[in-house]
């Protein structure tokens, strides 16, 4: 509600905004339809069986999983918050999670050692396919930049929230350091510096709706999988090693990407601090966070629980895998001259 203090500039495509009642997203298949149908009822009114679990990488499963997790983070429009701990819905979520985790294990294969997994994040192979940030520097385009920002909004508007779930699951120096990183993420005591708030500023600066889930219908499975993996690792204590590894990879990979996106904005001639600060802050902050995550969080956790090494390495590999899959999705769409969002291009900035 605090964001309402400044008038949101609403994109023509966004289904929500200050003057329009927000709506639940559109189903993408039978399972997400079943979840959306039950969420419109009262908690405890039953969840129909879903039969065979859908393709874990598909739009249907990823949206259904995203909705199940979203109940833990915030209100969904018109949905009774009591669904958060509804046993039948949790049972459905568990089936989706099981299939997703199995798919991740298959895709990652042997994660190898923590050091090797982290080295792949710190020193990505040269000449590999370009990710969205490199493509935006290579060919700056404000509409593509806005698309990228819309994709990332499903995580960045709740940045650091899934990772906060690690705190009670760690001890000693791992706990102390993850709290230090999260303190920074949450603005170091200043609401206007909370990273999620900086992202909302960025969205408004680019003429986008900063409302939570305003673009959920637009965001495809490869991006939903990125945020669903964070939630999967975060909401299960037994997966804390994966959560720690994933968070470390996220922080270690972020600085160079943020620097490229800051460069892309500069090339576009956008110097509005509302847009630039999110990226320049991340270049500096994540250089520090990388060190704390690797040395203190992973180092501390491995000292406390040497058996966590395989899960930590797996978490790191999952972060790389899902970033690469998302990057490939965006790259292929842009190479074909298409929008990388569901439902085609956004209303252009110039047309507004």
């Amino acid at each position: 509600m605090t964001r309402g203090a400044r008038t949101a500039v609403t994109d023509g495509d966004a289904p929500t905004g200050p003057h329009r009642p927000p709506a639940l997203p559109t189903a993408r298949g039978p399972v997400s339809k079943a979840v959306l149908d039950v969420l419109r009822q009262a908690p405890g009114s039953g969840v129909p069986p879903i039969g065979q679990a859908p393709d874990p990488w598909g739009e249907d499963a990823q949206l259904a999983l995203y909705l199940c997790y979203e109940l833990h983070y915030r209100d969904l429009p018109g949905v009774d918050a009591g669904w958060e701990w509804d046993p039948q819905l949790l049972a459905l979520r568990a089936r989706l999670e099981e299939a997703f985790l199995a798919a991740l294990r298959t895709a990652v294969g042997d994660p190898g050692s923590v050091d090797l997994a982290m080295d792949a994040v710190l020193h990505p192979a040269r000449g590999g396919p370009k990710g969205p940030s490199a493509l935006l520097v290579e060919r700056p385009d404000v509409e593509r930049f806005r698309e990228y920002v819309v994709h990332r909004s499903v995580f960045q508007l709740k940045e650091a929230d899934p990772q906060a779930l690690l705190i009670p699951r760690l001890a000693g120096r791992a706990k102390a350091a993850v709290v230090a990183v999260e303190f920074d993420e949450f603005g170091a005591g200043r609401a206007e510096r909370v990273h999620a708030r900086l992202y909302a500023d960025l969205m408004r600066g680019l003429g986008l709706d900063d409302g939570c889930n305003a673009y959920l219908d637009r965001v495809p499975a490869p991006m939903l999988a990125v945020v669903n993996a964070m939630s999967l690792f975060g909401w299960h204590r037994r997966l804390r090693g994966m959560a720690a590894g994933h968070f470390a990879a996220l922080e270690a990979g972020s600085s160079p990407g943020a620097a490229r996106l800051a460069d892309a904005l500069a090339l576009l001639g956008i110097d509005d601090p509302a847009c630039t600060v999110f990226f320049t802050e991340h270049v500096e902050a994540d250089a520090v966070h990388e060190q704390l995550m690797r040395r203190e969080v992973l180092g501390g956790l491995l000292e406390d629980e040497p058996g966590a090494a395989a899960d930590i390495a797996f978490g790191i590999r999952v972060s790389t895998l899902l970033d690469d899959r998302f990057g490939a999705h965006v790259r292929e769409a842009w190479a074909a001259g298409r929008s990388s969002l569901r439902g085609g291009p956004l209303a252009s900035l110039a047309a507004r």
Partner: protein
């Protein structure tokens, strides 16, 4: 290796309390990386300006490849003999 320690806090935020011998400021030298210093930190720059960071931990560049000196921007990751220091 665990040289970073939470400083004692006396309730005053600024200016930072001078460290006593019982609670020295922790500094960690990262091999081939930045120096980590408990914040807040003020760095007197050669041009006479002062750079200030209020983070709990600050990473100060030592490779001098950073585009955001005096702060680390992870440019040290670039392999030696690379000509471009911009990102990876």
């Amino acid at each position: 290796m665990a040289t970073w320690q939470q400083p004692e806090h006396d309730g005053e935020d600024r200016p930072p309390t001078p460290r006593s011998a019982a609670c020295p400021r922790g500094i960690t030298v990262v091999p081939n990386g930045p120096v980590l210093i408990e914040g807040p930190v003020e760095v007197a720059m050669p041009d006479g300006t002062t750079a200030r960071s209020e983070r709990v931990v600050v990473a100060v560049c030592t490779c001098l490849r950073s585009r955001r000196l005096p702060w680390c921007d992870t440019s040290h990751r670039a392999r030696p003999r690379r000509t471009s220091a911009r990102g990876e």
